[in-house]
């Protein structure tokens, strides 16, 4: 066991854990889209970003790919983290506007505007399907093609793959292409109909000591959403 400082509290964690595993163990809800317990970490969706290090030289890292190290200072919900997550949600939502998972995340994070032109790729390239196929199904039927803005998930040469056993694992694990948002499907690509979800304690805080079972209840951390207060 080693000690890290999590949101201002020194906690003990297993050496082989990632930062995400450590935060999970201590009950902190960190949003993820490309992470799955049964698969290798990827670090593509950039939602599990946390801030590490000491001011002024802190930086954002994806907690799913970053291994804990002794004395590591981790802050999970600083303003910088939340703002970065908001942009990531907005970016992903612009490519998969009908995804319920993303719409819910947008609601939760108070993303109330879609400023990019919706593209409806219905894919956020999180790579869960690729890893599911390779690591759990031992299939390797699908993979990434190209790079940059041309990147996509497909079978080799876009032909039907001999390796594919039609197990459906890829579809099962996809966070965006299955669950459709049932809210109003306007061009704005944001429904925000689910803003009535569980009250959340998502607002920014640097160090907070009520983070275990009191999340949101003590009242100190619940601040008005900056977008709504405008």
């Amino acid at each position: 066991m080693i000690a890290i400082i999590l949101n201002g509290v020194e906690v003990q964690v297993e050496e082989h854990w990632s930062v995400l595993e450590a935060t999970k163990f201590y009950g902190l809800a960190i949003p993820t889209l490309c992470y799955h317990e049964g698969l290798s970490p990827f670090g593509g969706c950039r939602l599990c970003l946390v801030e590490i290090g000491e001011a002024p030289r802190t930086k954002l890292i994806s907690s799913c790919t970053y291994r804990v190290e002794p004395g590591l200072i981790v802050r999970t919900d600083t303003r910088r983290v939340v703002e970065a997550r908001r942009i990531m949600i907005e970016l992903m939502l612009s490519t998969a506007p009908y995804s319920k998972v993303l719409q819910d995340l947008a609601s939760k994070y108070g993303v109330t505007r879609q400023r990019f032109k919706p593209r409806n790729d219905e894919c956020i390239l999180c790579g869960l399907c690729v890893r599911m196929c390779a690591e759990q199904m031992d299939g390797r039927a699908i993979g990434f093609q190209n790079r940059g803005h041309k990147k996509k998930v497909s079978t080799p040469f876009d032909r039907r793959s001999e390796e594919c056993r039609l197990c459906g694992g890829c579809i099962y694990i996809c966070p965006v292409c299955q669950l459709r948002c049932q809210g109003p499907q306007a061009d704005t690509a944001l429904c925000n109909a689910c803003l009535t979800m569980e009250p959340t304690c998502l607002e920014q805080y640097d160090e907070l000591r009520c983070w275990m079972y009191d999340a949101g209840r003590c009242g100190t951390c619940v601040q008005p959403n900056p977008d709504q207060s405008k």
Partner: protein
Amino acid sequence: MPLMKPIVDFEKLKEIRAEILRDRKKRKRTITVCGGTGCHAYGCLKVAQAFQREIKKQRLQNSVEVRITGCHGFCERGPIVVIQPEGIFYQRIKLKDVKEVISKTIKNKKIIDRLLYVDPETNKKIVYEKAVPFYKKQRRIIFGHNGLIDPTEIKDYIAVNGYSALSKVLSRMTPPEVIEEIKNSGLRGRGGAGFPTGSKWEVTAKAPSPVKYIVCNCDEGDPGAYMDRSLLEGNPHSVLEGMLIGAFAIGAQEGYVYVRAEYPIAVENISMAIEQARKYNLLGKNILGSDFSFDVFVSKGAGAFVSGEETALLASIEGKIGVPQQRPPYPAQQGLRGKPTNINNVETWANVPFIINKGASWYSQIGTNGSKGTKIFSLVGKINNTGLVEVPMGMTLREIIFDIGGGIPEGKKFKAVQTGGPSGGCIPQELIDLPIDYESLARAGSIMGSGGMIVMDEDTCMVDVAKYFLNFLRDESCGKCVSCREGTQRMWEIVKNITDGRAKMEDLALLEELAGAVKDASLCGLGQTAANPVLSTLRYFRHEYETHLKQMRCPALVCKEIVGSPCQYICPADQEASTYIALIARGDLAEAYRIIRKDNPLPSVCGRVCNHPCEKVCRASETGEPIAIRALKRFVLDWAASHNLKPSLPSRELKSEKVAVVGAGPAGLSAAYILSLKGYPVTVFEASPVAGGWLALGIPEHRLPRQALQADLDHIRKAGVTIKTNTVLGRDITVSGLFSQGFKAVFIATGAHKSMRLEIPGEEARGVLKGTEYLKKINLGQKAELGRRVAVIGGGNTAIDAARAAMRDPSCQKVMILYRRTREEMPAFSEEVEAAIEEGVDIRFLAAPVKVLTEGGRVIGLECIRMKLGDKDESGRRKPVPLSGSEFKLKLDTVIAAIGERADAGSLTKGESIDISQWETIVTDPETLATNRPGVFAGGDVATGPRTVVEAIGQGKLAAESMAQYLEGVQPVREYKLNRPSLYVEPMELSAEETAKASRPKIPRLTVKDRRLSFREVIQGLNEAQAVREARRCLRCDLETEDGKKAIGKNT
């Protein structure tokens, strides 16, 4: 010679070197031909073969050797040939020069003048390579041997002391000593991040693993950067030697050179070098007889920019997709195949043998405190001496760009330099004295990167630059992180919208927010720096973004969708040049006339005296001569006049608010005309007896016949404008008085015609005239008393007009112009200067008056002084400096001072509570031309200072729009629109033959004899056939926009 036998110990290496050198001495001369990639493109291989053939033919094989070497760096001047040992530097050698070089230079030691490099500063020819300014200020350590050795010959490398550092390390040093030496040298990684190399080696050396690797990173992918390529092509053994030393220090058994497959010569040369080194036992088991064993393999990359990132590079070597991984674990802990791996850039490795040979203390003397040694930069873009330069760290940008790079081509202005490739940033002109090292570049918002330097001149649009790099990055992002993949794509989309004139101001805020998030949230170096092109251009060139967004203007005329056809874009009067030219090409002259008249109240005037900014930006001039736009316009106007064509006036609703315009010059008349078309009753008050302002009073008839002006004036009057002459502001009328007479708005456009004084003794003497007053007199038909010998002082249009008018005065026998700079700096239109010279005006450049010589209060002469051009001043022109002792006297009867005019608004508007600037101009809001006094607007020269006719027309039109808004009771706001024609005319098909023949027509002029003593118009019009032929030559830039492309084929 014991070639290709393993070298078994250190002594043997020395022996071989001595033997090679002995063998070399037999041949006296070596012709080195640069074999860099640039020179390859110029055809250096053929040149080298020709040399070989010629040498054989002339039986010189035993005394002369031809060697294809590595890159000499001066790519601009390729193919480069240097004759050693003298170092005679020949540039741009062609096949036909080969024979002469052999017979003259090699055989007879004669220098061939025309093949030498000419220093553009001094215009002197330079014989020796080391004297060329491009090389003089460089310190070529790493590149030093490139020009001497054949990269495919290990012997050449051994001859220049190659592998002696390896020999030293293996025989006398321990690995920790080597690391210590590198640490002490202060060498930092040349790949971009600048991590201290020694420390990096130490970490890998200390990593507990029996198996370790080293890697040479030659995945050079920045646009415009090719120094790593050149090094690997030109001196592969130096890289190998560096790697061998590194491997020894770190304890690695295998090394990889990761190089792009699209660098075929680099791949070939390094592979050959590895082969040769293996044969010499410089690679393999028990190197040089020691117990150190090491081997190197080449790994070819497929050309993904992201594979230069070290974790992605390792993935690529392993055969996986080049995608970066989270660090830690760092490659030094877990790298290639999970083993500790040390990765360095090509240039870093090449530095190592020099540090070992000459010592850390020698090396650390070069450079700055934090950055040691030299750095190779790839100097490209808008620069005279394109090429690779190696300079000590800490050299300023000015030295690199101007002293070594030779400055900007065509005398254009330097604007910015982009360093560090797509992850770098743009450094603006203000920071030109920045010493270049890792820290200073980072502070300026850029990075060293691998050393790319893209120089940009005034014709570069910085928003377009950002778009270019974003386009590169959205292609080259690995696509793993949302932030980078989607972020670069969306940033590109926003910037593209800005360059297309389709974005809103809030998009700029979004762009900044997004740029911050991309930088913050991305996994690897590529993503973390992907926003730099945006952030650095925003930091230094935010105004350019704002100009694109708010005004839909691209000051550099780059962004196609915004600019449309440059001729229309640049015209202050919004003349749709490309449209009427297209109509002329189709023979529809009546429609062309309508289009011209639609936007310009004074087209007959403009067709003759406009300074035609349209022709300066005409895209046809990029490959030939610009379209003769002014002549085409005049042709249409002349045609309309001869066919008695009268333009129709649009129907309008008459309004009651009276408007007063003060000044019947181009600005006043244009405002009056447009307001009148909008239905307002307009009265123009003019001080002089005639309307037209400077067009009637200043420009002599040989340039602008009065009937042309009259035609435009008639049309303006027909539109309902009343012109009252002989009414002077401040004497007969006042602004307040106009308001009390019932005028609801006033536009002041009184011009700027107060002649500036010479400020020399004797200026008050009789016979010293002011240029403007002289021109006014002759234009009003009054007598101007000129003597027999006349000197005009000045270099502007007034000076030329005055001189040419004086030439037409029968009492004048000699007319000269004194100008203190040279012809190049003359502000007068060059065609006017040319015509003046033709007519016999004696222009004396670099001469300035000191004193007017008088006798009895009358001019008898002028004392002058010679000038020379000094350094450039703020305006970019070279300042004239008097040469003391060079005074001379001229015998003269009349001196006309025409050194410039200025406005005189203060005395005209005294007591009117209108703000006046220190230049005696009226202060206006440039967006609306409103003055501080409500209802009072001002424009033209009285607000801007002396400008051109067409600018005055533009000001008048702008004022009219603002005044109309004011009269309707709304706050005037300037409306900006994308530059589009009102009509798309179908393009013409030109036959190949016509295209080949097409050229600008020679504009006919009166013969010099006919011009004598006559004010007949000098420039004549084109005939219809000439005009149509010229119009067909137009490239039709208006069809290049998306709208234009859509319109083709729709309205035939």
